[in-house]
Amino acid sequence: MTATATALAGRHLLGIADLTADEIGLILDTAEAMKEVAERPIKKVPALRGKTVINLFYEPSTRTRTSFEVAEKRLSADTLNIAVATSSVVKGETLIDTVLNLEAMHPDMIVLRHASSGAGHLLSKVCRARIINAGDGMHEHPTQALLDAFTIRERKGRLAGLKVAIIGDLLHSRVLRSNVLLLSKMGADVWACAPPTLIPRGLERLGAHVTTSVDEAVRGADVVMMLRIQLERMEGNFFPSLREYFNVFGMTPERVALAREDAIIMHPGPMNRGVEIASEVADGPRSVILDQVTNGVAVRMAVLYLLAGGGDGD
C-alpha cells in the first residue's frame, strides 16, 4: 500500500523518525515532478501562491537556507528570512516567544534551523504553523536525508539492498541520524564508520552496522557518503590532528577503489578538502555532490507542497 497524496497534509516535518517508508516514497516521487520545474524556461508554479513561509535560521547556513528559499519561490510562496544576528534573540527573547510573535502574522509554515536538539518539537506544541526542521542540533536534518535518498535513487534506481557507507563525525551529526533512519527504513544496508571517539552510543539500534575500519565500510559499497569534520573537534581530543584524521579516515582514491566500480561519492557540505575527503575524490567522476545540491531544491519543493496540502482531491 502506498501513501496517499494527502498523507502529509497539515503535518510538521520534525524528523525522518515520524515518516513511514511509503511517505518517504511519496516525497521522493513528488520531488521528481518538482525537479522538472527547474528545467523549464519559467521556473515557477503557482502551488503555494498566497502561502507565507518563514525561514527562521538560528545557525549560519548558506546551502540549506538558499535551497529552501529557492524552493519556496519556485512554488510562488511569499517568503521571508530571519537570521539570528538580526532577530530579537540577542535581546534575550525565548524561542517560544519569538515564534509566537511570528505566528501572530499568520505564516503557513516555519522552516527552522536551531542549535538545540528538539527545538522543532518544542515549537510544534505551541504553533499552528507547520514546522519544517531544517536541522536541530545533533538530532535530525530530514530534508538533507530526503535529498540524499533522492540522489541515490536517481543514480541507482532504488534504495533497497544498496550498501551505503557513511563516514565522518557521526557523534555530532544530524545528517547521520536522519540518513540512518531513512536508509534503513527503505531497506538499504547502512554502514557507519568513524574513530570510536566520534561514534554515538547505541548507533546499531538505529539501524546501522558500526565499524572503525574505513576499508570495511567502503568495501563493496554502492554509495560512499562523507560527513564533515569540524575543525574544532581537535580541541575535544576526538582525534589528534587533521593530518592524522585524513591519513586514517579520509576518503582517498585508493580507498574509493574498494567500493563498487559504479559507486557514487556524496557529501552534504560544507566540505573540508584534505580532511575528510581528498579533492580528487570530491571532484572526481563518481562525485554527485553538486547533484545533491540541485536535488535539494526539488526535494524541498516536494516537502513544502505536500505539507501545505498539495495533492488534495487527486
Binding site: 523518525a17 525565548t94 524561542l95 517560544i96 536551531h114 538545540s116 536538539s117 528538539g118 527545538a119 518539537h121 518544542l122 536541530d136 542540533g137 545533533m138 538530532h139 535530525e140 544530524r174 541520524r177 554515538p200 552510543r201 547505541g202 548507533l203 539500534r205 538505529l206
Partner: protein, 436 residues
Amino acid sequence: MEILLTGGRLVDPANGIDGPCDLRIVDGLVAEVGEGLAARGATVREVPAGTIVCPGLIDMHVHLREPGQEHKETIASGVAAAVAGGFTAVACMPNTEPVNDHAGITQLIVARAQEAGLARVYPIGAVSRGSKGELLAELGELKAAGCVAVSDDGRPVATALLMRRALEYASVFGMPVIDHCEDPTLKGDGVAHEGFHASRLGLRGLPAAAEEIMVERDIVLAGLTGGAVHIAHMSARGSLRAVRAGKARGIRVTAEVTPHHFALTDERLEGYDTNVKMNPPLREEADRAAMVEGIADGSVDVIATDHAPHHYDEKNVEFDRAPFGIVGLETAVPLVLDRLVHPGTITLARAVELLSVNPARILGVAGGSLSAGAPADITILAPDLETTVDPARFRSKSRNTPFGGWRLKGGVAATIVGGVVKYVNPDVVGADALKW
C-alpha cells in the same frame, strides 16, 4: 494537651513494632506506645481505617531556594509541600544565593523555617566557601548555627584533597559529607544519560562513569580518613557496586536514591520534555533495576527526593537550555508505595527505614522512631488511597514534575510535627477526625 491515637497499625522498625498499637502524645512528645491504652483524660482520636502510623518521614535532600531564588520556592512553600507529602522534616541543600557557607545564612534559614511552622528544616552547610571547591567553609560555625551535614551539592567536592580535608575536619562535628558525585571533565556539557536514547535524540551525553568514578574516589577517601560520606542521588549501577564494596570493607559510606531514579528510565527522553531533565539523569533500565535491588537488599540507605523546584519559564525552553531538576516532595510517598511496597519489593517497615530511620541516623537528628520521649513527629500513611498526581494541587511554588497525571496507589493521610497536626489529606475518608 494529651492525645491518644488509636486504631492504627504502627510501623516503627527502630523498635521492632509492626502491628495494631495505640500512641499517647503529651506536650508534643511520644509518651507511651502500646496496645489498648486507656484514655486517662486524653482526647482520643481514631486514625482512618487502613492507615499506617509511622515515625515522621525525613527528606534529607531538598532545595528550598531561599535565600535568592524565591521565584522557584520559598522556605514557607517548601515546607508546605513537605508536610503535604508526608515529610515532618527536610534537610535543605546549601546552593542558595548566596550559598549557605556562613552561620548568618544558616540562621536566616532556621528563622524562616520557624516562622513557617510546618516541617522541621535542617540546613546543610557548604563544604567550601561559595561552594567553589577552594577553601573550607567554617564548618564549626555552621554546625553551631544549626547545620547537620555539609555538601557542595549541585557540584562535587572539587578535588580529592579538599574531600579528604572535609571528611577529616567535619568528623570533629559529627557531620557527614554529602557528595554530588560527578567527574566534571567527563560530564562536559552533557544534558542526558549517555545511551541509546540520547544518541537518537541528539542530546549530549552524561556517562554513568562520571558518577561512578567520583563515588569510588569518595569511598577510598572515607576509608583513608575514617570520615562519613553520604552519596547523594545515586543513579548508576557501578556506583551501587562501589557502595556495596565499601560497606563490606567497613567504610562509613551511605547512599540515597531518588524516586525518579527507581521509577523512570531514559526512555522518557523521547519528546524532549524538560521535566525529565535532571542531574544525575534518568539512566537505562539496568541502572534503574539495580537501584531497586539496592533499595530492597539494604545497600541503599535512604530514599530522598532531590526536590529541585524550577519556574515554569525556566523549563519552557529548549531541552539543552533548561535547568536540571524536578520537584519531588509531593510525589515521593505515592511512588514508594505504588512502585516498591505494593509490588512486594520492600515491606512497609523497610520503606520507613529508608524514609525516616536512616535519614535521622545519618544526619544525627531527632526522629526515626516513636520511642517514649521522642518528639511526636508522625506520618500517617494511607497505603490503599488511589491518587492521581495533579501538579495544580502542589503546595510547592513549582510544578516541574514528570509524574503529572500518574495514577498511583498510596498516599499520605496526615502529617504531625511535635504533636501538632500540620497536614490532613481531604481525600482520605475519616482523616478529618485527626484535626486537633
